[in-house]
Symmetry: C2
Subunit: 414 residues, 2 copies
């Protein structure tokens, strides 16, 4: 039986970057970028007017000239016309490119206007601009042409989408979605549309895992097998070949119907480990089909399935979307989607020398800290306890008492 | 000019719950539930065996009986067969319904087995169970039939999906997606597939807003109008009628080309407010078409657009997916998707009597607190500063100096 940290390293060691696909920009949102995005022009690409008002020479206003003839008007999107008369001004709008001959913008709020008999307009400056270049967002002030803006490996959130659009990256290289087969096992399970007999329950783990895999950016389909080795031997090979990951729930403990590990080995899946020093989820089995899927065979109790998905399978699904396998050598806490720090709000005692995953609710404290309060869970079969949990704390095995105030790693599940 | 708090209340006052649609369970994941989910049976529905091993009468083992004849074997999913001989035991698997006549389960790890000449198996108990009912998850221990499990208004995360599946809610009532029209305006904008002239830029705000609206659970389409009142008068009515929200960027400040507020009023959109005591985003215009869309007309500078979307439009999009309009009376901080508390890591000075939205990076401190470090942003036109920001702090207007260590509301944007 191996430790949680060893199990994490074994799972991480199977991470290989998935292949690339090319998507148009709005559809690429949420995906992991697989190319560097660089500035095609300076940011901003021109001296960009930042306020509506008039553009003039700072030297003229600094020398005390109070009034400026409006020589022309410049809208955003118009090619800029140079200023001819150095003592005049250009009426100008936000977003316009600053014309040659002017360097400073004074906003409407700091101006008064008059019109003479010939219809010529004049602006009088009411408040002196503090410096040359005021209200002008200078060309290349933020980034220079060729600068790296968004490195490969970044998730395309709205800000990255905006930057990609600005540089004209209408199609971008992103990681394809991981393909996940979610497999429930167990003769006691009936479809959710059926009325179960007294000793049966409906298949809930598979749908839970499917929804959770979707949230991790994966495609996920659900399958079911009864506790029948022959059915598994016939059905599993296609899944091991056609998917990046097969996530099973149930059939891995020591019971007579738990032939799953044996069946998987018979099908050529190489066992990496079976049983981890943890609760819940000690019987967790993990393996890999050479050239095929990795197999997360999770215990079937709902809380075990849930916690072990978020502790091992979700980080794996996020890691394979990254462009490099650096994550495989990282310490546990550096895993993608890995834990944050949270403060335990009450004493917790746990005697077995096992890593304990403790369901908690999470809320922000008044000082900005994240407070974790243990759920009064009824054990690993108590699915309803997941409803009020935001995640789980990871309590290390070498300690028995965890006093209130202890800071511990917290894995978020919502 | 109104305060940020007043603007928030005005926006919140337009929230009305969107209508309901019925979706099958996997597709309903991520949506807001519009019906209460109640337990159709007890949780668990039967005395559920929690370990593989043997089931027996606790009284027998407590009385000192060391060995038990295996009378039958009970797998998960099989109708339970009652125990006939009170001194015998049932070999039993996790997930099985406990038969009548037994009350306690002893796991394999605490048993040894022998088989006699007739093939009859016997189990010897190596470790006494601590109590009657050990390793049995008793019927109704977690929830009773009829109990409220998931109230309307809850987002269907994986845990809720599992519970819905368990009770056979194969189709559930959820809020339909909000329909958002994202409209960019400005003659300086060209499509992202085009090469802009020196004084032009590509349309990035619309794609940013589309991606952000998607993240808030909305459907979103993008549109563009040049700075042409006639085009707006012709094009906007269909959007005001066909969408729940129209989010515009650009065209709301005091410039000559900023006729958007006037055009909107001409089209019958009732102005709720124009200009808010905030930076960035002072010219923010908000209105509502009677019987039609609400209109968020955001300033066109990328940082203004971004911050004001997350500060006003995203909470609105989340609120209209809720089943009740209680959110409309809530204080600012109770808004859905609203701010968390974060600790400023350095002194910040801001003199204008405006609420200041300050872009920050966010990271968890060693004590579990959320640390906010200001971005060195180049102003509201510096789109690239959004790449390194995780959100923004809301600095109240009545204060000028915010020392390091101040706890402030932080709005997350990634």
């Amino acid at each position: 039986m191996i430790s949680v940290e060893e199990a994490t390293r074994f799972v991480a060691a199977t991470v290989r970057p998935l292949s690339v696909e090319y998507l148009s920009l709005p559809l690429a949102a949420g995906r992991i970028l697989r190319e560097d995005l660089r500035a095609d022009r300076d940011f901003p690409p021109f001296n960009r007017v930042a306020m509506d008002g008039i553009a003039l020479r700072f030297a003229a206003v600094e020398a005390g000239q109070p009034e400026f003839r409006i020589e022309s008007t410049q809208f955003a999107g118009q090619p800029p016309t140079p200023l001819h008369d150095p003592e005049a001004a250009v009426e100008i709008m936000t977003g316009a490119a600053l014309p040659e001959g002017v360097d400073t913008v004074i906003r409407y709020e700091d101006l008064t206007f008059r019109t003479d008999a010939d219809g010529q307009r004049y602006a009088t400056v009411q408040a002196l601009p503090p410096r040359q270049g005021h209200n002008v967002h200078a060309r290349a002030a933020d980034r220079r042409q060729g600068d790296l803006l968004v490195p490969a490996g970044t998730r395309l959130e709205p800000a990255e989408v905006a930057v990609a659009a600005t540089i004209g990256a209408a199609t971008v290289a992103v990681t394809r979605r991981p393909r996940v087969a979610v497999v429930s096992t167990g003769d006691e399970l009936v479809p959710i549309t059926e009325q179960p007999a007294a000793h049966q329950i409906r298949r809930s783990n598979a749908l839970m895992l499917q929804a959770a895999a979707w949230q991790a950016g994966a495609e996920a389909e659900t399958f079911h097998f009864n506790d029948d080795p022959e059915a598994l031997r016939l059905g599993l090979p296609a899944l091991l070949e056609g998917f990046d990951a097969v996530i099973l729930s149930g059939g891995v403990s020591k019971g007579k119907a738990d032939f799953l590990p044996e069946t998987l080995r018979e099908l050529g899946v190489e066992q990496v480990f079976h049983e981890v020093q943890q609760r819940p989820g000690k019987p967790f089995w993990f393996g890999q089909q050479p050239g095929g899927a990795v197999v997360f065979a999770l215990p079937g109790n709902p809380v075990s399935t849930f916690v072990n998905f978020y502790r091992y399978a979700r980080p794996w699904l996020l890691a394979v979307q990254q462009p490099t396998i650096e994550a495989t050598d990282s310490p546990v806490t550096a895993w993608l989607g890995g834990p944050v720090s949270a403060v335990l709000t009450e004493d917790v005692q746990f005697k077995p020398r096992l890593t304990h995953f403790l369901l908690v609710s999470l809320e922000a404290g008044p000082d900005g800290s994240l407070l974790a309060t243990p759920e009064r869970a009824g054990g690993s079969g108590d699915m309803a306890s997941l409803l009020t949990s935001a995640g789980f704390l990871e309590l290390p095995p070498e300690q028995e008492l965890f006093p209130a105030g202890t800071v511990l790693p917290a894995w978020r599940c919502r």
